[in-house]
């Protein structure tokens, strides 16, 4: 594929021609010695560099293009619909005060999680994300019961009630969290990828972050390290247009976030997050690159329908903006695809939906019936050695 990297190297070759600073790519091949390979002689003419970025627009791929059979398609539908139904209930349960603390809903972005999970080797590859983590958790197969119980702060919760909404983890499925400090999990993603490479596995790590997290130094340091060490990492910016109340273009001097890859000699692409096929296609191709030792960056344009958190009225939106985005809805899009291509009827899909609604109700029942953790658990999991004497 035409990637910014290759083109960058072309343009560098060309630079070299008019004897510009050489040495690009040297970081990739281990240098012969610890010394610099760079020239300090400055070329006379201006230096030009041209870059190309792949795009993955919506409505551009069929299910064959992403290697999904009909069962897989229905799985995708189930996955996205489950996320939405689950979170619709979360809102209600928060109002009922069964859920407390922060609650960040993912509604509108479901194609990103579902498409990405479809593209990887679930259970072998690794995933890490920020605090808006219900969607990816469910997409990866976390059980709705323990997930809801975590939101209720129950002992049966996926994190035993210790983490809550921002801290979904699943050791089995290799979801490494669920992290609350913006950008701070991106270096962790690089480290998870590092461990895969260190052990010689051909697994990758997907690291999701928000558009706002691009402005944390941690993101930049991690991307340079990932590129320098050729880590099997796909960094995925879920650009849902806002960081809390701050529009992406009020925070980023360069509003095309995919261009951040240029500083790290990394390929990057721009993807529609409103089409699960586009997401799957993009992540498949970039995960493959990662397996071959080439980290990359994806900017996904998507949209969150709800406020930043349950308490945010989101009055910063432009009038009509929300409806406008909703007209792009990824679930509706897949629904249309399934029916128009006679893969499923509306009735069949409604039946699945009803089933999912029931699953969510059962999850709530499970959470309600579960007990809060035993008080002694306050002191568990602070250290591997539980119940350290000095703690009390």
């Amino acid at each position: 594929m035409a990637s910014s990297k290759e083109v960058a190297e072309e343009s560098n070759a060309q630079d070299a021609a008019n004897d510009a600073p050489a040495g690009d790519g040297v970081a990739e091949d281990t240098p012969k010695g610890p010394w610099t390979e760079q020239s300090i002689t400055i070329p006379s003419g201006p230096i030009t560099a041209e870059y190309t970025f792949n795009t993955y627009p919506a409505d551009a791929y069929t299910h064959e293009d992403i290697g999904a059979d009909e069962d897989a398609l229905l799985e995708m539908f189930r996955s996205m619909m489950l996320q939405r139904r689950f979170e619709e209930r979360c809102r209600q349960q928060y109002q009922k005060q069964n859920i407390s603390g922060f609650l960040h809903l993912y509604i509108g972005q479901e194609a990103v999680s579902t498409g990405s999970v479809h593209a990887i080797r679930l259970g072998e590859d690794s995933v890490i994300t920020a605090y808006r983590d219900h969607g990816i958790g469910l997409a990866m197969g976390m059980e709705p019961g323990p997930a809801m119980a975590e939101l209720f702060g129950k002992g049966t919760g996926s994190s035993r009630g210790k983490g809550g909404s921002m801290h979904f983890f699943d050791q089995e499925q290799r979801l490494f969290g669920g992290h609350g400090i913006v950008g701070a999990h991106v270096p962790l993603g690089a480290g998870i990828a590092f461990a895969h490479k260190y052990r010689g596995e051909d697994n990758v790590c997907l690291c999701f972050l928000g558009d706002g997290a691009v402005h944390q130094g941690a993101f930049h340091e991690a991307l340079n390290l990932a590129s320098l060490y050729d880590l099997p990492l796909v960094t995925i910016i879920e650009n849902n247009q806002y960081a809390m109340g701050t529009a992406v273009d009020r925070a980023a001097a360069e509003t095309d976030l995919f261009k951040q890859a240029l500083s790290y000699d990394m390929p990057s692409s721009l993807v529609s997050g409103m089409d699960v096929f586009s997401m799957s296609k993009a992540v498949q191709e970039h995960a493959e690159m990662a397996r071959n030792g080439q980290p990359s960056l994806l900017e996904v344009r998507t949209y969150r329908y709800q406020g930043h958190s349950i308490s945010d009225p989101a009055s910063y939106r432009k009038e009509g903006e929300l409806d406008d985005r909703k007209s792009e809805d990824a679930i509706v899009r897949l629904q249309r695809y399934l029916t128009e291509n006679d893969i499923a009827t509306d009735d069949e899909l409604d039946a699945i939906d009803d089933e999912l609604k029931q699953i969510v109700l059962d999850a709530i029942a499970f959470a309600e019936e579960s007990d809060f953790p035993d008080e002694s658990e306050l002191y568990d999991h602070v250290y591997a050695q539980d119940d350290y004497a000095f703690l009390k």
Binding site: I181, A252, V382
Partner: protein, 328 residues
């Protein structure tokens, strides 16, 4: 006097100082268009405009440092951390730059800057969003640290902080932003940094408590009164420089000290007060200085664990009774 919420008192202090001195500006995440994540800066963009009330990207390290540089070059920035938890990504800027530049430059450059925001646990926000930072920052010479428990102190001390020529860390509380109290409306109302407030007098036991913990202490004092014990409650208000004299004076009278501090206990502010008091009032102490703090664990999410994690009025009463050698 007017009755204001804590958030309103803070806003009034900032607005008055910005009207008084055009070198004062407010910068932080969501402070302008959004009117503040907790509505502390509500309306300030309208009054002062986007050049003086400035939204930032999520770049604490960057804008904390930007503020320090601006202070070195003659301005008086107020930098809001949405919460103090997020100051940790800017930690180096605060402790190595803000704190040391006056000293390293032999007094050539000062850093008159205020860093402010809510501190401590604020409900079930889990481990990374419940840090209490006063002890950590107060360890660094060159910094001043204030932590307030009510609207009037907040206004008077924040105005002093803005006028102060040194970096001041001003700690508020998310859960107290709605707390109401009488506040002076004098445009020049300031309170001295480094002076504690004796909030309640009593001869039996001294309780030192700041920020939210102050209210636990007052509650405990009431309960003790019902049992016939009069507690003297002191709100240090300034963590550093600490008004140790006021505390020692009280302990000389009561011979007993309990410190309530919602931080994790190890190397906490409570430890420091304890050390200084026993060093200066050793012969007056009839019982060990005792602290009531959060558990020495990260903050859990589950409501019952969270309750067990946080210090309570009940634990404070128990601690007081134990130093009074009275049975609970």
């Amino acid at each position: 006097m007017a009755e204001l919420q804590l958030r309103e008192a803070i806003r009034e202090a900032m607005s008055e100082e910005m009207r008084r001195d055009e070198n004062v500006f407010l910068m932080g995440e969501e402070v302008a268009e959004y009117n503040g994540a907790y509505k502390v800066s509500k309306g300030m963009l309208d009054e002062f405009g986007p050049d003086r009330v400035i939204d930032t990207p999520i770049s604490e390290l960057g804008f904390a440092g930007l503020g320090i540089g601006a202070a070195m070059n003659g301005l008086r920035p107020i930098i809001e951390f949405m919460t103090w938890n997020f100051s940790f990504v800017a930690f180096d800027q605060v402790v190595n730059n803000a704190a040391n530049i006056r000293y390293m430059s032999g007094g050539q450059f000062g850093t008159p800057i205020v860093f402010r925001g809510p501190n401590g646990a604020a409900g079930q926000l889990a481990a990374t969003h419940s840090n209490s930072v006063e002890a950590i920052y107060a360890n660094f010479p060159g910094l001043k640290v204030i932590s307030v428990s009510n609207p009037d102190d907040a206004k008077g001390l924040l105005k002093s902080a803005v006028r102060d020529d040194d970096p001041v860390l001003f700690l508020e509380s998310e859960q107290m932003y709605g707390l109401k109290g009488e506040v002076s409306d004098d445009e020049d109302y300031t309170l001295p940094i480094g002076k504690a407030r004796v909030a309640r007098t009593g001869g039996d036991v001294t309780i030192v408590a700041h920020n939210k913990s102050y209210w636990l202490a007052m509650d405990a004092a009431e309960q003790l009164a019902e049992r016939g014990y009069e507690a003297e409650v002191i709100d240090p208000r300034t963590i550093k420089p600490l008004d140790i004299e006021t505390i020692v004076e009280s302990v000389v009278k009561t011979n007993r000290l309990v410190i309530v501090d919602e931080s994790n206990p190890f190397t906490s502010f409570a430890s420091e007060v304890s050390q200084q008091v026993q060093e200066r009032a050793f012969d007056y102490l009839d019982a060990p200085v005792t602290r009531v703090t959060a558990a020495d664990t990260p903050a859990p999410y589950a409501p019952n664990l969270y309750e067990a994690y946080m210090p309570s009025a009940e634990e404070t009463v128990e601690a007081c009774l134990s130093v009074l050698y009275a049975d609970a």
